[in-house]
């Protein structure tokens, strides 16, 4: 049975993003509306702990039947972190949807509690656009 929120998501929105701060396991205990996604993006940073968290998520995502799971390497200081994320993607056989560079403007915005204004954090905004392009291509049914 579809929940009211589930109905709202289907009828009133084109894209619904669920910021799963609570974690996939936590959400899965509360029914499918929030836990199930068409695409799951696992955000990682250049730390082994964040990779391990992502690895645990992969198994649960498969159990829940989430069809597409991708990694995103965040706060990347290039080129070392790019190699790190690519090797992790290969190790766990999870494709990368994108790499987001470490950015001083984002750090500053976070410090102040502000959003990124026009002209600030452009490398990050560009990286996000590429992630969206990747996701859009991934959703096109194979012909």
């Amino acid at each position: 049975m579809r929940s009211l929120l589930g109905a709202a998501i289907e009828e009133e929105a084109d894209i619904t993003l669920v910021d799963m701060e609570a974690g996939l396991e936590h959400l899965s205990r509360s029914g499918g509306t929030l836990a199930y996604a068409d695409v799951l993006l696992m955000i990682m940073e250049p730390s082994r702990k964040s990779i391990l968290t992502a690895a645990r998520t992969i198994a649960l995502a498969r159990e829940l039947g989430i069809p597409q799971v991708y990694g995103v390497g965040n706060k990347a200081r290039l080129p070392d972190d790019l190699e790190f994320f690519e090797s992790v993607a290969a190790e766990y056989a999870v494709p990368l949807a994108g790499i987001v560079p470490h950015d001083a403007d984002v750090v500053e915005a976070d410090r102040r509690g502000h959003i990124l204004i026009e002209g600030k954090g452009d490398p990050v905004k560009d990286a996000v656009r590429e992630i969206i392009d990747f996701v859009d291509r991934a959703l096109v049914p194979a012909t």
Binding site: L5, I15, D19, E21, A22, L27, S30, A37, L40, V106
Partner: protein, 103 residues
């Protein structure tokens, strides 16, 4: 299309979620962003000031897992609990879903 963003605390989920939401909204799509954290920060990342962020209503658990009593339509749900942010993304706070016994 439903997009889930997950990851260890502090990796930047909320910042990236907000940027993805805003980018889709800028393309003219109807975007819904759902915050599930007990410390909801997505509002700030979407451009609400702290006072406005505190005012975002919490979606009752019953409406997240149940179909409601029939009186509330999906559009009503968004009108009542959704908050329009400066970049046209509609924000929902679903933190009640992660609180045991709440709602």
């Amino acid at each position: 299309m439903k997009l889930g963003i997950v990851g260890k605390g502090g990796v930047g989920k909320t910042t990236i979620s907000a940027l993805i939401a805003q980018t889709y909204a800028a393309r003219g799509l109807r975007v819904l962003a759902v915050d599930t954290d007990s410390n909801p920060n997505l509002a700030l990342s979407l451009g609400l000031d702290p006072a406005a962020a505190d005012q975002v209503p919490v979606l009752p658990r019953a409406l997240v897992v149940g179909s409601g009593d029939g009186a509330v339509t999906p559009a009503n749900l968004l009108a009542r609990y959704g908050v329009r942010t400066p970049s046209d993304v509609t924000l929902l706070n679903a933190m009640a879903i992660t609180q045991a016994g709440a709602g």
